[in-house]
Amino acid sequence: MKYLEKFREDAYNCLHCRLCTFTWMWPTEPGVWPEGSFQSTCPSGEKFKFEAFFGGGRSWIARSMLEGKQNPSDPELVDVLFACPTCGSCQQQCTLEEPEVGYRHRIIALIETMRAECVKAGLGLPGKQKAFGIHVGKEHNPYMELHKDRLAWLPSEVKLPEKSETVYFVGCTSAYRQKELARATVEVFQKAGVDFTILRDEWCCASPLLRTGQWETDWVSAKSIAQHNTQEAERAGAKRIVTTCAGCYRTWKKDYVEEEYKDILETSHEFEVLHTTELLERLLKGGEIELGKEVKMRVTYHDPCHLGRHVSVYDPPRNVLKIIPGIELVEMPRIRENAWCCGSGGGVKSGYPDWAVEIAGERLKEAEKLGVDAIVSACPFCWRNLSDAINKYGSKLKMYDVIELVNQALG
């Protein structure tokens, strides 16, 4: 249990108090709890119900693994460990007092680490997870596409420099699926006069591998991918990496450099990592761009887990939306730290595709109650899954990424 041993303290930090099972919002005034408080918060637990599917239960499974009571190749572990979007809400609810009392319970890391132990022990992965892992090893993307087509979305008239201090890391979802988001990002950067480039040999950021326990396997190595991307960025002269994808953002900002994955990825960098919404907020506040065209729409904002809870970026996307002329931003009850996950992360979209859309469907219901025209997010993966739910459930909501609305407002 080499991987899991590192998180032994976290596994044993669970008191089993079940705070991880619902949202916590402080009262707005004495005795008055906001609508978003005490709501369900764990997609996995709400679906599968048994304690094993909540953060606390999984922590106690980690204990039993560490105590040798649980065989990591036991097929009964598959759903228990992999049917979870690792949205991090359990960890958020659990460690609310963390800064105050020094309490640490990294449940997401525990889950991902247990997954890695199981993969290492030969446990089968659900759905298409192994297939995409193999493909990442061969073609550097999880979408079964060819690496040579990675830049096919880029309009031929767009000429980018070989080197720039700002690198737009496109990510696989925008490169192969939500190409309109990649194009919108490039258009916005050009309209804003941002000097930037794109890596000529960008690979998957490795997030899908890290999230599904495919760290070092016979078919793919997350370490070699991370090292390749950081070397490519250095070659491009990067000082900052900008991503539109929340998953890529978390991976560059956290996984490539922080302690949790340091000994797995054996890489590091000193780039400033920005989400496009952070860059846009900076440009707007600095008066470097102006949004002149009205985008008349009543919208609500969905916090991507990898941008919100995982890295605490909550305000920039909201601030950008508020600046767009004509946009009226209305909040859902469960937002920010308490946001309900869209359901696509943590390998759920590939492992449990129907359930992923079901989770997104619950988010749509919450948005629909507000009577808004659209749900807006800041992640192509959320965009995809929420759009799938809109189609599946026949919702009248429109789906946008913040970058698309900014592009419209720039005219």
């Binding site: 004495p30 408080s37 048994f50 094993a52 106690w60 319970h105």
Partner: protein
């Protein structure tokens, strides 16, 4: 086992039964009220009374142990003590069945949590509030807390949570559905705890799941005051805090009186169990705070004035350095008045999430002696002497709760926790205390072995209600593990 699982699936549906090892292991909890805990053999999630009946009939026929588990917030207490048990996860039974604002009660199923009940009442009946446990996370269930004679945030005023129970619906191991209290009559509401004859509601309160499965419970709801505040006394020693507090409690105006010693506050930030953090200047050595509620500011001021008079009288006797008002900052006041709250949770941050509450009912007048004894025992075993105490029923009783913070990763430390628990139990029992939620390994065997008549009757009652001994074997020293 496979045959049993299939039979259970026939009752509740495939998706609500699992014998998968990881799913069973996830219910294990070593802490809170009990550090011994085993994984069940199979977990079943019934939704209805009929399903509970069918499960118990099946288990009784096959003599399979059954452990009811509502929210699981009693920790190890709500998990099996014996191999091969069926764990009934009752969280699907989470309906608020009825609220009666004239007789002032609500009827709930076992899965209804404090948070759910509180929010429901806030939205639908804002003039009333249920007695939810204080400090315990809002995931604690009302049935669990009331059934286990728990402490709620109005226990100082209205007594232990069990005192607020007005009736039960229980499925007994032989499959009969029994209602206790007034609702035993098919024509009556849940307005009164007794039917004719003895208190059969009380038979199940404190029974720790050894007599049946509670499927509905009627509990009192209480008026929501319009204004609230908190005042606190600090003292230089245990001996100065109890009598002034008792005089305040005798006014019968206090919603909640609770306090502790300074390690109760400092342990939240401490990293190791020993040595305890030194006492910061801003904290008194011991303190009690009084949560107050009233319908007007004038009424609230009158209560505070009476408390003030009590304090000043004692200051003349003890000196102002020994007993004094402790002015709380606004943040502390808001934290105390926020219900539900999550105050107890950060104690787990002490070191490694090991937490055991060893709580005793004591005469309030003697609470200081118990607190001092607990400190001595904990210091002897080199555990940080963290003590919480609270007054129940206007100080007729008190709860003294040593909180043992330990490293659950260490088997040696677990042994030390049990050795400490054994020593404290011997002392506290000699001093006249009664265990709050007796654990199976130390409290129940020791106390039952010295309460012969009571224990004998309890065993006979158990035999009558649960002839095959299937309900939560191992708890309360009943049937399968008799103390000598």
């Amino acid at each position: 086992m496979e045959e049993l699982a299939k039979a259970l699936k026939d009752i509740v549906g495939t998706e609500n039964v699992s014998a998968a090892k990881p799913i069973c292991e996830a219910y294990v909890t070593r802490g809170i009220m009990e550090i011994r805990s085993l994984a069940p053999m199979v977990v079943v999630r019934p939704k209805s009374v009929e399903e509970v009946v069918a499960i118990l009939c099946l288990a009784n026929e096959r003599k399979v142990p059954v452990v009811p588990h509502s929210g699981g917030l009693s920790g190890g207490e709500a998990t099996p003590m014996r191999e091969g048990a069926v764990l009934l996860d009752l969280r699907r039974m989470n309906q608020i069945v009825e609220v009666d604002t004239d007789a002032r009660y609500m009827v709930v199923e076992p899965g209804v949590t404090s948070a759910q009940a509180w929010k429901f009442m806030q939205e639908k009946y804002p003039d009333y509030r249920p007695g939810i446990p204080d400090g315990a996370p809002p995931s604690a269930t009302l049935v669990g807390d009331h059934l286990d004679r728990g402490f709620h945030f109005l226990s100082t005023k209205y007594g232990s949570a069990a005192e607020a129970v007005l009736g039960l619906e229980v499925v007994v191991p032989t499959g009969e559905v029994v209602r206790t209290g007034s609702c035993a009559s098919p024509n009556a509401k849940w307005f009164y705890r007794w039917m004719f004859g003895p208190d059969l509601t009380g038979l199940f309160l404190g029974s720790q799941g050894t007599l049946g499965v509670v499927t509905k419970m009627a509990i009192k709801i209480f008026p929501m005051p319009k204004v609230r505040d908190v005042v606190a006394f600090g003292a230089s020693d245990w001996k100065y805090i109890i009598d002034p507090c008792l005089d305040v409690l005798k006014t019968e105006k206090v919603d909640l009186a609770q306090g502790g010693n300074y390690p109760l506050a400092t342990c939240r930030r401490a990293k190791y169990r020993w040595p305890p953090s030194p006492k910061p200047d801003f904290l008194p050595k011991v303190w009690m705070n009084f949560e107050l509620g009233a319908d007007s500011k004038e009424e609230l001021e009158n209560i505070k004035r009476r408390i003030d008079e009590v304090l000043r009288n004692y200051q003349k006797q003890y000196g102002e350095k020994n007993i004094f008002f402790w002015k709380l900052d606004m943040r502390s006041i808001v934290a105390r008045l926020t219900k539900p709250n999550r105050i107890s949770v950060p104690y787990a941050g002490h070191k490694g999430g090991g937490l055991l509450f060893i709580t005793w009912y004591v005469p309030w007048k003697d609470a200081a002696k118990f607190g001092e004894q607990a400190e001595r025992s904990m210091e002897k075993y080199r555990f940080s002497p963290v003590i919480w105490l609270a007054a129940v029923d206007h100080g007729r009783q008190g709860l003294v709760m040593p909180i043992v913070l330990f490293d659950p990763k260490s088997p040696e430390e677990l042994k030390e926790v049990e050795a400490l628990d054994t020593e404290m139990t011997e002392k506290f029992f000699e001093m006249g205390g009664i265990p709050y939620r007796p654990n199976a390994s130390v409290h129940a065997p020791m106390v039952m072995s010295k309460s012969i008549g009571y224990y004998s009757l309890l065993k006979r009652l158990k035999q009558a209600v649960d002839p095959n001994g299937i309900m939560h074997p191992g708890r309360l020293a009943l049937l399968q593990e008799e103390p000598t």
